[in-house]
């Protein structure tokens, strides 16, 4: 085994896929100089040259539209959106065009575009650099969405996304960029649509997305001996691995979904809807969502902390649900 950071895993996935298929290229702001602001495109220029690593002006609408047209003309773009908040400049190409062309054209065109965007709060970057839009894209027919939370998944899911013939939004998390993990040598992929049982348990199922996987695992650890917590990281939000989630709830009888984006109409609501619809009889208690506050993300640390689920507050929420 060797050690790799989450950021390096992203670079590695891109380099491997670009070596495998010369239709793959990367486009985005500052990606070409020194591996990008967050070093997520290191090594590409050296291996593949400027042609395949395209730094753009600050024109998100145009370069996301470019990705749509390039895909229609047979290429396989990887688009880097520096912060997912900036995708709001490009919602027309992304939602009106990219998500719909396959369908609208009666299947003539495929849309193999991967959008890499980092999301999430926790670094005091305030309301316009901390959002998470997985719920929006889950509500947008035509998009797949994944949220890698480990180094292994960062590489494996991204490679699957690049090989997929559909638009896939890969939501990365900058808090994890410098996380190091032991990983295998060589290549691997993680299939889109397969959840990971991050920890087994029998009293309650915690479905935790993105960075909340980590906090949920910490909470589970803190509860050891008192409550036996199963932690499931869906990894892919669309398509969602209901089989794994239902099997877990079937065992524990209790469901708590933890995510960072705002609670109202978040993906927690969708997971609850489906568990209730498909596994009502499994439930020993009302399934709940414990998620980000229904506020913009505040700058000040005291408030930012209060706006997001934390290990301690997850522990409290679990205790409440199991009556411990």
């Amino acid at each position: 085994m060797r050690k790799l950071t989450y950021a390096a895993a992203i670079c590695e996935a891109q380099c491997e896929e670009m070596a495998r298929d010369d239709r793959v290229f990367v486009v985005g702001e500052d990606v070409d100089i020194a591996g990008g602001v967050y070093k997520l495109t290191c090594g590409i220029r050296e291996k593949f040259g400027e042609k395949r690593l395209v730094g753009t002006p600050i024109s998100e609408e145009a370069f996301c539209g470019l990705a749509v047209g390039a895909a229609m003309a047979g290429l396989r773009p990887i688009v880097e959106i520096m912060y997912i908040d900036f995708i709001l400049m490009a919602m027309d190409p992304v939602v009106n065009q990219m998500a719909k062309v396959q369908f609208m054209s009666g299947g003539q065109f495929r849309m193999p575009v991967t959008i890499r965007a980092q999301a999430g709060a926790g670094t005091a970057e305030a309301a316009q650099h901390s959002q998470s839009f997985e719920a929006w894209f889950a509500h947008t027919p035509g998009f797949k969405v994944c949220m890698p939370a480990t180094v292994y998944d960062a590489k494996g899911l991204l490679k699957s996304a690049i090989r997929d013939d559909n638009p896939v939004l890969v939501i990365e998390n900058r808090v994890l960029f410098f996380d190091e993990e032991e990983v295998p040598e060589g290549e691997w992929t993680v299939p889109l649509g397969k959840a990971d049982v991050a920890r087994e348990g029998k009293d309650i199922t915690l479905v935790a997305t993105g960075i909340m996987r980590r906090k949920a695992l910490a909470a589970a650890k803190a509860l050891e001996g008192k409550v036996s917590v199963e932690v499931i990281d869906p990894r892919t939000i669309v398509p969602l691995d209901m089989e794994t989630i239902l099997a877990s709830v079937g065992k524990t009888g209790r469901l708590l979904v933890v995510h960072e984006s705002p609670t109202r109409n978040g993906i927690g609501a969708e997971i609850v809807r489906r568990v209730v619809a498909e596994g009502f009889d499994y439930l020993d208690a009302p399934p709940k969502v414990f998620a980000g506050s229904d506020t913009p993300i505040p700058f000040s640390s005291t408030l930012e902390k209060a706006a997001l689920p934390q290990e301690e507050t997850i522990v409290r929420a679990v205790k409440e649900m199991v009556g411990a």
């Binding site: 145009a62 229609m72 065009q97 054209s105 559909n166």
Partner: protein
């Protein structure tokens, strides 16, 4: 860098254009016109539904421009795409079937009037979003350059669309990277109910390209040979790797903005543009009769033939079946997955 070509002498150009090409262009122009007139009838009869934006009056632009293109070149369009689609793809049957929501339509009935696509002939779609095709055109041109081919892309849009931000972003990028894309602005002087004077701070739109060091030209959009020549030069430049051009074609739409909603424009103005002096088809016919390329009888015969082809297209569409409800989820995703 910039250049301005206003209404060159079409007669001079006409002499250089081979007869078959003139025949092709006239036939296409008549087909586009008759197609739209038929669409209007079917719309009023309830056989076509939805939002229908007719191209009547602007045929010289689509036809003149697409006559410069190969099948492997690309074009994008907007909410008024019938003319561009026909001129690039020229499949009356499948275009009409699409309008009528049939499985045999270009987009299998999923797209309708605003979303006709044809991959084989490089037609990258109409678009329901004003300026929605701009980024797509940039991407197609990028792909050609990436692959090292000499394909070009024509991006059709109108005066209203020119005020969308993405046009500015895309021109900057096209200029920076010398992409083989032609920005073809059909200035038909109005956007829905808003005239150019109320939407745009300059009378001409093409000179904006100067802000991006993109060569530009203004031409008479109702003179098909002027369009053909101007776009032809731009296409040649693009194929030589010299990058983008902006062309503004001055023209006029003869039907209301959408469907059969009331038109606010002065009756005399409409009448003028429908007159032989302005109408692009009548003008081209007069030119071709005048220089003896065709006889009036030949032209008359062409009209009758087109009439039949259009009738055939309607017949084709009517006989085709509607998509089956259980195919609703087809192509949401490439693998046709259901959830």
């Amino acid at each position: 860098m910039a250049k301005k070509n206003q209404s060159p002498n079409a007669g001079v150009v006409a002499a250089e254009v081979p007869k078959e090409l003139k025949l092709h262009m006239l036939r296409q122009m008549i087909s586009l016109r008759r197609f739209e007139e038929e669409v209007k009838r079917l719309y009023c009869a309830g056989e076509i539904t939805g939002a229908i934006h007719l191209y009547v009056g602007q045929e010289a632009v689509a036809v003149g421009a697409c006559a410069c293109l190969r099948d492997d070149d690309y074009a994008t369009s907007g909410h008024r795409p019938h003319g561009h689609c026909l001129a690039k793809v020229f499949d009356l049957n499948r275009t009409m079937a699409e309008m009528m929501g049939r499985e045999t339509g270009l987009s299998r009935g999923r797209g309708g009037s605003m979303h006709q696509f044809d991959k084989a002939k490089g037609f990258l779609g109409g678009n329901g979003i004003v300026a929605g095709g701009v980024g797509i055109a940039l991407g197609a041109a990028f792909a050609s350059k990436y692959r090292g081919t000499d394909q070009v892309t024509v991006c059709f849009f109108s005066d209203g669309a020119s005020n969308q931000g993405v046009v500015h972003e895309a021109m900057n990028i096209a200029s920076l990277w010398k992409l083989p894309v032609i920005w073809l602005c059909e200035n038909n002087q109005i956007a829905a109910t808003t005239t150019v004077a109320r939407s745009t701070c300059t009378p001409d739109i093409a000179p904006r390209a100067e802000a991006y060091c993109i060569p530009w030209a203004i031409c008479d959009g109702n003179a098909v040979l002027d369009v053909y020549r101007t776009v032809g030069e731009a296409v040649a430049r693009a194929r030589r790797g010299e990058g983008s051009t902006f062309i503004e074609c001055k023209t006029y739409r003869l039907e209301p903005h959408c469907g059969i909603i009331a038109d606010q424009r002065p009756k005399e103005e409409l009448a003028l543009w429908r007159s032989p002096k302005k109408d692009c088809i009548k003008r081209f016919e007069a030119l071709l009769v005048g220089d003896k390329t065709f006889t009036p009888q030949e032209i008359e015969a062409m009209h009758r033939r087109v009439e039949q082809e259009i009738a055939g297209a309607v017949e084709f569409a009517r006989k085709s079946s509607f998509p089956a409800p259980e195919t609703l989820y087809d192509n949401v995703w490439a693998e046709g997955a259901k959830s």
